[in-house]
Structure formats: C-alpha cells, structure tokens
Amino acid sequence: MVSGRSDRARRLPTAVKIVIAGGFGVGKTTMVGTVSETAPLRTEELLTDESVGVDDISGVEAKTTTTVAMDFGRITMRNEYVLYLFGTPGQERFWFMWDEVSLGALGAVVLADTRRLSDCFPSVDYFERRNTPFVVAVNCFEGSQKYDLAEIQMALNLGPKVPVMLCDARNLESCKEVLIDLVIHAMKSRGLVDPEPQNA
C-alpha cells in the first residue's frame, strides 16, 4: 500500500474467491464444507427492489420478497491471502447472484454428475461466456456408470484445454487436487506460466 492512510490500520490480507458451480444436488455444498476451516456459512440475498433500507418498516406494501442463499467457506492461508469458496445457488434462475459471485473470481469448479451430465451445461455455458477459467470435476456417486474423461470432455463440448477430472467432494485430498488444478489452469489461462513446476 502506497498511501500512509492505513498506517494505523492493521494490514489486511487480500481475499480471493473460487466459485463452486454445477447442477442441483451435485455436491457443491459438500465440497465447500470439505475444504473450509469452519462449517459452511450462508449469505442471504433479499430479492426486492434495490432500495432495501435498514429499519424501513413503514409503508409495508405487499412486495414479493424472496431470499436466495449461497453457501460459502473460508480457508485462511499462512500468507497474505484468504480464500473463499462460494457454492452457487442451486436454482440457476438467480443469475444476478452468479454475476455477483463470479465477478473477480480466480476461477470456477463445475461439478458434474455423470447420471445427469446435462445438469452442468448451464454452468459450463455461463463460465465460457464470462471467460472465467474453470475446470470440470466429475463427482463420482455410487451407481454412476464409469465414463472415460475424454468422453465427458466431448459430451460437454469442452475445449481441449479445459481440465476434466474425477473427484469425491467428501474427500479433502480429492478437493485439494481439483482446486490446485483449477488455480494452475487459471494461471495459464491468464497467460502466466508456472515458474517452478512440481519438483517432487
């Protein structure tokens, strides 16, 4: 920080966010919970007109009011960053929430279930159109047929550069792998190269 404005204020970390998207019941909240340091929290967005005032209970006219909830979790890193994971609202009609949460996102994980592969089409479309780097993680539910990842890549009509991988949203190591792959993919998509590839 260049200005002296915050001399007395604590030096604040920078927050980064990753979006976890996908169809209904595909494991978004599960993934957020698996990697978060605390149980997922929820934000509630009130859907009325823009003038959502505080303490304004006068003139209670019958307005349609709905809330949309979004689950999210936090990962505090030992460096100057804090990572937030946001699960998109289950219902895809709340596009403005997607816009809000995708704006400034490092990238997105699209969770897919091979039993209902088409459920992730809207998410894939959305991030493609928005130019948000994303990976597709196929959540392996019991009883789902085994598919070849290349087949899924084709079925989703994904570009060859979009990583597709298997995952188990309940498993920390699996989720870590997905998220790390996403960050690497996002880095490459933005024209940055990994200066020191894995040396393990």
């Binding site: 007395r8 934000t43 349609t64 200066p195």
Partner: protein, 139 residues
C-alpha cells in the same frame, strides 16, 4: 447477457399470478419477479462492499453508542478480527444488502477499515496464484 434457459421446475403457485405474470413467467414461476426488479444490479458496483471485501474494526467496540444501532455494534464486535462481508452476513443472519448499508455507516464514521479484493483485470500477479496453490497444498 441473456440468462440461459431456466431448467429448474418450481412449485406452481399460479393462484397468486396475474395474467401478466403468467405470460412472462410461465416457465420460471413467480419467484423470478424480484429478480426482474433487481435487473439494475446485474453488474454489482465493484468496490462498494463486494462479498469478499475484508473488513476490520479500527478500534475497540465503542462503549456509548454514538448514533449506532445494535447491529452496528454487533458488526464492530465481529470485526475485531478480519472478516469478509459474506461472513458478516452469515454471522448476523441479515441480507447482504442490509449489511452493506450498515457497513457504509461504519465506514463513514471511521469505525471500520476495509480491503477490497483484486479487480478481475488485475489478476495477473503470479504471486497470487502461487500463494493460493501453496495454501491449498498445506491444507
């Protein structure tokens, strides 16, 4: 941007719909009405309390409430540690829009300071990616 076709079936509440609603919303259902009303917010103003803007109280919880309501004081209490706007709404159990208004008050009065996230256009710092990868590996 055209929202892609909605594919989630909704419980029907057609009794509450006017013919106009039905005409516009036959598929999406009545819940979409408020969304239409918020169309002005499709691109949220960056900077003014993004969900991941981090907030911290500048001082201790003020003792005598100087024009602050109980929710303001609750925010001051929560923000003794750095918290995001999203976390505040989660802990306060209030809608995001309400929390933004309250935070605006506190910012005006100098009771909180905040750190905005990187704008998307500025996500070209390789250190950010490396730090996040390292952080994830350490989990």
């Amino acid at each position: 941007m055209m929202p892609p076709e909605d594919r989630t079936p909704l419980e029907q509440r057609s009794d509450e719909l006017t013919p106009m609603d039905r005409l516009l919303d036959d598929h999406a259902g009545p819940m979409v009405r408020p969304y239409v009303m918020t169309s002005g917010r499709i691109e949220p103003t960056r900077g003014k309390f993004d969900l991941i803007t981090l907030v911290v109280a500048v001082g201790p919880e003020p003792e005598g409430a100087i024009g602050l309501g109980p929710e303001h004081l609750e925010i001051m209490r929560l923000c003794q540690a750095v918290l995001s706007v999203a976390e505040l709404t989660g802990h306060l159990n209030l809608p995001v829009a309400t929390v933004r208004v309250l935070l605006g008050d506190l910012l005006d009065k100098g009771f909180v300071s905040m750190q905005e996230p990187e704008p998307e256009a500025d996500m070209h710092d390789i250190r950010l990616y490396k730090a996040v990868i390292d952080g994830l590996r350490a989990l």
